[in-house]
Amino acid sequence: MRSFQHRLSEFDARGIRVVGISVDPPEVSRRQSQRLGYTFPLLSDPETKVIRRYDVLHPGAGPKGADIARPAEFLLDSNSVVRWVNLTDNIAVRARPAQVLEALNQPSPAGQ
């Protein structure tokens, strides 16, 4: 997410709102935001309700076997239709800003 913070102005310029979602409680997210200088929101889903709804749950992968989110990125258009999605097969390999910006240059599947 560090790399998305670095290029956040390019997403702002395209009118794309960037948010992170994890099981972290708001206090932890606030500390991390301040420490890492993130200016986009970090949303808190401790009960994994939204994480399950998006089927990106990684059962038992957290501390003491807690359920957490697996890394995943969804680009939505303004009608909440998915334009681009990245479901990595390697926890250490995440989407890069350039991939998402490239997807933004492609026509939307909803034909906007």
Binding site: R17, V18, P41, L43, F74, S78, V82, D89
Partner: protein, 142 residues
């Protein structure tokens, strides 16, 4: 005659340990994160030095020290490299398939969550007055 210090064993072992502990450092940069080649390079150099050290210890034992501790260090180094490889090539790939995740062209599920300041944020808020949103699900800091 006092036998010589067999430096490749010591340096090799230190380089192997450095190859492991530098993972966090190299993970900061996408180019050394997606595949940790810099760490494998260090591990390779360390193992090569250890092999040189062992050749010296066993080939010319009257000149170089390290037959016993060199073997122990080499065995530990091989175990460390095996463990690192296991994590990189197996553990990191244990990600659920997420077959039910919203596909391209589908409508994404709505949500309403608290942000880092405890303020409720819904998908609708993110999409009003914007051209879209990028949702980044991440494992968290806990």
């Amino acid at each position: 005659m006092k036998r010589k210090w067999n430096w490749p064993i010591w340096i090799g072992f230190v380089v192997v340990v450095a190859g492991l502990f530098s993972y966090e450092f190299f993970a900061q940069f996408p180019i050394t994160r997606d595949f940790p080649w810099a760490n494998f390079l260090l591990l390779g150099i360390g193992i090569a030095l250890l092999i040189i050290g062992l050749f010296r210890a066993f080939g010319r034992p009257q000149v170089y020290r390290g037959k016993i501790f060199g073997s122990i260090f080499a065995a530990i180094a091989v175990l460390l490299v095996a463990f690192f490889s296991y994590v990189i090539f197996y553990v990191l790939h244990q990600v659920p398939a997420s077959a039910g995740a919203p596909h391209v062209g589908q409508k994404a599920p709505d949500f309403f969550l608290l942000d880092q300041n405890g303020k409720p944020v819904g998908l609708g808020d993110l999409l009003s007055n914007s051209n879209g949103a990028l949702l980044i699900f991440y494992r968290g800091f806990w």
